[in-house]
Amino acid sequence: MSKILDDLRYADSHEWVKLEGDIATIGITDYAQHALGNIVYVDMPEVGDEVTQGEDFGAVESVKAASDLISPVSGEVVEINEALEDEPELVNQDAFANWIMKVKVSDPSEIESLLDAAAYAKICEE
C-alpha cells in the first residue's frame, strides 16, 4: 500500500500539488514512484518556463520505463529541485519530500479541479 498525504491535492496522472499562497509545489506520488521502480533520471523544466494544466512539463525515467510529467496547474516555473539532477533516486526514497518543481500559479482556482486524498486513493486502488 503506497502512502497518500491528506493535505495535498492530486492529479489522476499521479502528480501531487501543495499550494501555499500562489506557489504550487509539485512532485510525483509514492504510488507513481513505486510503479516506475528505480528512477534513474528526472527531466525537469527550466526556471522561467511556462507550464499549463494538463500538459507535459518533463518526464521521469527508470531503467525500462518512462513516464511523462503532466502539470496539474498553470503558471511559471520559479524553482526546480536541483538535487534530483545528481540523485534522482531521492524520489524513490520519499516522493513527497522530494518535490520536482515550484510554480507561481496563474489561476489558483485550477486547484479545485484536482482530486483530494480520498478520491486519489480510490484511483490507486483501481
Partner: protein
C-alpha cells in the same frame, strides 16, 4: 528447411490437425494465394554463383576519382576476416547482455573511438547513414530547445544529405532555412541575420564541405550559442584524425557518414551514420547507447543503457523511431580504427591530401583547368574546365577510370584517396588533356 515427411506427420499429430493447410483454416479462403509466383525455379549453389558472376560481369570495377561523400579508402585485410565471424553477424540486438558481451563491447569501443575523433563525449551505437543521422540531429536540436522549431543548414552541405533532411523536415514539420554560400563557404553573415530573427533551435554546418573545402568556423559557436541555439557539424569522420574537431569548433553535436572509415563502396551501402554530442543533448540523442556496468559478481560488463528514451518504451513520445543500428558496420569501423590507430589515420589523410594536391597541380599546369575557389582542401576539390567533361569521362571509362563528378557550369570535382597512385593520377590527367 530440415523437415522430413515423418517429422511433419509427428508434429501435426502433436498439434492435433491433419494437414499443414489446417493451420490456416482461420484465414479467409479468398486471400489464400493459389497461383504460381513469377520468380525463377530453385537454383543450386552452382547455378546461383554463376548467376551472380554473370550479373557482376555487367558491372565495371574502376579506378575511382569520384567522391561526393563516398571515398575509395582502403581497409586492411584483417577487417573483413574478422567481420566474417558468424558469432558477430548472426547475433541479434544485444538485448540479453549476458550472452552478448561481444557485441556490447565493440559498440562501446566504437563509441569511444568516434568520441575521440569528434571530441564530443557521447556517441550512439550508430545510425543508418550520414544523411539520416543529420535528419536526426535536426530533431535533436528541436527537442533539446523545447519550444523552437527552426533549423539553419548550410547549402555547402552535401546535396544528397540535404535532400534527405528536407524530406524529414517536410513531413515532421520542422522549419529549415538553407543558408546561402559565398565563395564556396557558408555565408556566416546570413547565418547571423537568421539567428537574429529568432526561433532557431540549431545550425548545422559541414566539414569538409561539399566542395572539399575546410571551412573556418572561428567565432561561429559564440554566435549560435549567443542566440541560444545548438551548433551541429556534419563531418567526414576519417578527416577528424587531422582536422579541427567539432568540439574544438565549439559544436554541441556532430554527425556524418562512417563510410570513409575504410568501408567498401558496395553501390551506396551498407555504411553507417554517427552522432556524437555533448552532455547537454545526451537525453535527446536517438538510437542505442552502450554503457559500462558491473555484474552480480562485480565483474566489468557492458549493457544497453538510457533505453527509456527509445521507441520501444516511449512509443509516439520518443524523439526518433529508430530501432536498429548499423551494428556490423560499427564493428567494421572499430576494427579499422584499431588497426590504423592514432598514426595510421593521420597518414591516410596526409597521403590522400598530398595526392589530391598533386592532381590539382597537374590539372592547373595542363592549362585546361582553372581554379574555382582559393580555399584549403584535403582530399577533394573543385576546378573549372573548358573541356567537354561528358566526353572526357566516357573516354576515361574505356580505360577503366571513373573521372571526377560533373557539377554545374563547367565545374568538376575530383577526390583522391591513399589508394590512388602517382601513376594513376598522371594517367588520368594525360587521358583528359590529350587531344
Amino acid at each position: 528447411m530440415p523437415h522430413t515427411d515423418e517429422d511433419i506427420r509427428k508434429m501435426l499429430d502433436k498439434i492435433g490437425v491433419e494437414t499443414i493447410d489446417d493451420l490456416y483454416s482461420d484465414v479467409p479462403s479468398e486471400v489464400i494465394f493459389k497461383g504460381e509466383y513469377d520468380i525463377p525455379s530453385s537454383m543450386s549453389e552452382i547455378e546461383l554463383r554463376k548467376h551472380f558472376e554473370d550479373l557482376g560481369k555487367k558491372n565495371q570495377s574502376l579506378v575511382i576519382f569520384a567522391g561526393g561523400g563516398v571515398y575509395d579508402h582502403y581497409a586492411p585485410s584483417v577487417v573483413n576476416h574478422l567481420l566474417q565471424r558468424s558469432e558477430f553477424y548472426t547475433a541479434y540486438t544485444p538485448y540479453q547482455p549476458e550472452i552478448s558481451q561481444g557485441t556490447l563491447q565493440y559498440i562501446f569501443e566504437y563509441q569511444s573511438m568516434i568520441s575521440e575523433l569528434t571530441g564530443l563525449e557521447s556517441t550512439n551505437a550508430s545510425m543508418y547513414d550520414g544523411a539520416t543521422a543529420a535528419a536526426e540531429v535536426m530533431f535533436m536540436m528541436v527537442a533539446s530547445s523545447k519550444k523552437r522549431n527552426k533549423v539553419l543548414i548550410s547549402s555547402t552541405i552535401s546535396e544528397r544529405v540535404l535532400n534527405v533532411v528536407m524530406t524529414y523536415a517536410k513531413f515532421h514539420g520542422v522549419d529549415v532555412t538553407v543558408l546561402p554560400e559565398k565563395d564556396g563557404v557558408t555565408d556566416i553573415e546570413s547565418m547571423e541575420a537568421a539567428l537574429k530573427e529568432g526561433d532557431v533551435a540549431g545550425v548545422l554546418l559541414p566539414t569538409p564541405n561539399k566542395y572539399g573545402i575546410i571551412e573556418d568556423y572561428s567565432g561561429v559557436a559564440e554566435k549560435i550559442h549567443g542566440a541560444k541555439g545548438y551548433f551541429g557539424i556534419y563531418a567526414d569522420p576519417s578527416t577528424l584524425a587531422v582536422l579541427r574537431t567539432p568540439a574544438e569548433w565549439g559544436a554541441d553535436v556532430a554527425c556524418g557518414d562512417g563510410q570513409t572509415l575504410g568501408m567498401p563502396l558496395t553501390f551506396g551501402g551498407p555504411y553507417l551514420g554517427f552522432i556524437s554530442c555533448a552532455k547537454s543533448m545526451l537525453r535527446k540523442m536517438p538510437g542505442r547507447v552502450v554503457g559500462v556496468t558491473k555484474d552480480a559478481d562485480g565483474k566489468r560488463a557492458f549493457v544497453l543503457t538510457l533505453q527509456a528514451r527509445e521507441q520501444h518504451i516511449r512509443r509516439e513520445k520518443a524523439t526518433s523511431n529508430i530501432c536498429s543500428n548499423q551494428s556490423l558496420m560499427a564493428l567494421y569501423a572499430t576494427i579499422y580504427l584499431s588497426l590504423l590507430g592514432k598514426k595510421g589515420l593521420e597518414e591516410v589523410n596526409i597521403l590522400s591530401c598530398d595526392g589530391a594536391h598533386y592532381l590539382y597541380k597537374l590539372l592547373m599546369d595542363s592549362g585546361k583547368f582553372t581554379a574555382v575557389f582559393d580555399k584549403p582542401f584535403l582530399k577533394e576539390f573543385v576546378v573549372n574546365t573548358s573541356l567537354d567533361m561528358e566526353a572526357v569521362n566516357a573516354k576515361l571509362l574505356k580505360h577503366g577510370i571513373q573521372g571526377g563528378i560533373i557539377l554545374e557550369d563547367g565545374k568538376v570535382e575530383f577526390a583522391v584517396t591513399e589508394k590512388r597512385t602517382k601513376e594513376e593520377i598522371e594517367k588520368l590527367v594525360k587521358l583528359m588533356v590529350e587531344e
